[in-house]
């Protein structure tokens, strides 16, 4: 067991776990932050997406020992993020969610996309969101919501 000092959503955290423990387990089991979901455990579905050092990251395959001093941002912080807030609003207004299980990962990837590519094309969206799977098939509404959020951000709607 090793002790790791982490910064999660701007807050300092300390956990004592096996070095090989995936970040997802640290978030959910140690820190009780259950907004980030376990889907496949092999980085195949995107439900566990968080931002690690500003990069959309599949937390189920990243051992805590490799996190280092990079800040971790999870779905719990998106309401306070200028882009995250707009994306969540778009998700609600377009009624994107069906069962909702994958949606925290979808939103984290969408926010990462919009922060790099504020006006994404259909191809940008398909490629960037390609690692996030939705068993309910809400892909069309996800794309519409990303475009709506992009439009909102373009019009200066980020709060």
């Amino acid at each position: 067991m090793e002790t790791y000092k982490l910064t999660v959503n701007g807050q300092p955290k300390e956990v004592t776990v096996d070095p090989g423990t995936p970040l997802l387990w640290v978030l959910r089991e140690e820190l009780k932050m259950t907004g980030t979901k376990f889907g496949c455990g092999i980085a195949a579905c995107g439900a566990c997406t968080v931002h690690l050092g500003g990069v959309a990251t599949q937390s189920c395959v990243v051992p805590v020992s490799l996190v280092g001093n990079r800040p971790i941002v999870t779905i719990e912080a998106m309401a306070d993020d200028p882009v995250g807030r707009v994306v969540q609003d778009a998700w609600v207004s377009l009624d994107v969610v069906q069962c909702g299980y994958c949606q925290s990962g979808q939103i984290m990837s969408a926010v990462a996309l919009l922060k790099v590519e504020p006006k994404p094309t259909d191809r940008n969206i398909e490629e960037s969101m390609g690692g996030n799977i939705c068993r309910c098939g809400t892909y069309v509404r996800i794309r519409e919501a990303i475009k709506a959020a992009s439009q909102q951000l373009h019009e200066g709607g980020a709060r």
């Binding site: 980085a43 995107g46 959309a56 395959v61 990243v62 490799l66 280092g68 996309l113 969101m129 390609g130």
Partner: protein
């Protein structure tokens, strides 16, 4: 007087014979040196080409060629299947904004989760593709031609290629590729890293020879 002329004639003949003999000896020596140099050059090239074949055997192993694709996506596994999770190359060979290579591949191997990692994980540029669009591996001559083409290889000369094989993190990773998700070790290239570097040094010293492409 007559005897003095005879002596002079004899001296002249001896001088001419000596000169002719010297010229013949010199010419023969030059011919031998030239032949030896030519043989040495051919031997050097032969050894260089043999060293290249060793290098090629590493380059086309799955640990290397899986990220030297001609397609918009990398491969994975010893069977070189398409990378899962809809991963794509992206404009800078490092994926796309929300699905970068470093979305999963960290600075080091993640043996507890089976994800390989090394600094700046990325695909080789399309100019360094070592297979065709159908995944068929290019010939030794074709790969050698591309590897030595400075318009395609980030302007690396022989010394640069040797350094690349010696210290580049992704090259080093190929020889310490970590564990698969089932805990078994990933397969290794056919040479050790030390053997690759030694072969590269020999190939570079021979002038980076390549077989002719057809």
């Amino acid at each position: 007087m007559r005897s003095r002329n005879a002596v002079a004639r004899a001296v002249f003949v001896i001088l001419v014979v000596s000169l002719t003999w010297s010229v013949w000896i010199f010419a023969r020596t030059v011919r031998q040196d030239s032949a030896q140099r030519s043989n040495a050059g051919a031997s050097n090239r032969t050894e260089g080409l043999a060293a290249w074949q060793q290098i090629y055997s590493v380059l086309i192993s799955p640990r290397c060629i899986n990220c030297h694709t001609a397609t918009s996506f990398p491969q994975q596994g010893d069977d070189r299947h398409r990378h899962f999770a809809n991963v794509v190359r992206g404009p800078e060979d490092r994926g796309v904004p929300a699905l970068q290579c470093i979305t999963c591949h960290q600075e080091a191997n993640a043996n507890s989760t089976g994800v390989p990692g090394a600094h700046d994980w990325h695909l080789a540029p399309l100019s360094m593709k070592w297979q065709d669009l159908n995944g068929n591996i290019l010939s030794s001559a074709a790969v050698c031609s591309d590897v030595t083409d400075r318009s395609k290889n980030h302007n690396l000369d022989g010394a640069g290629l040797l350094k690349h094989h010696t210290v580049e993190p992704l090259v080093l990773w190929a020889f310490q590729p970590g564990l698969n998700i089932d805990g078994t070790p990933r397969s290794l290239p056919p040479l050790t890293h030390e053997e690759l570097v030694a072969a590269t040094r020999k190939w570079v010293e021979a002038g980076t020879p390549c077989l002719q492409t057809h």
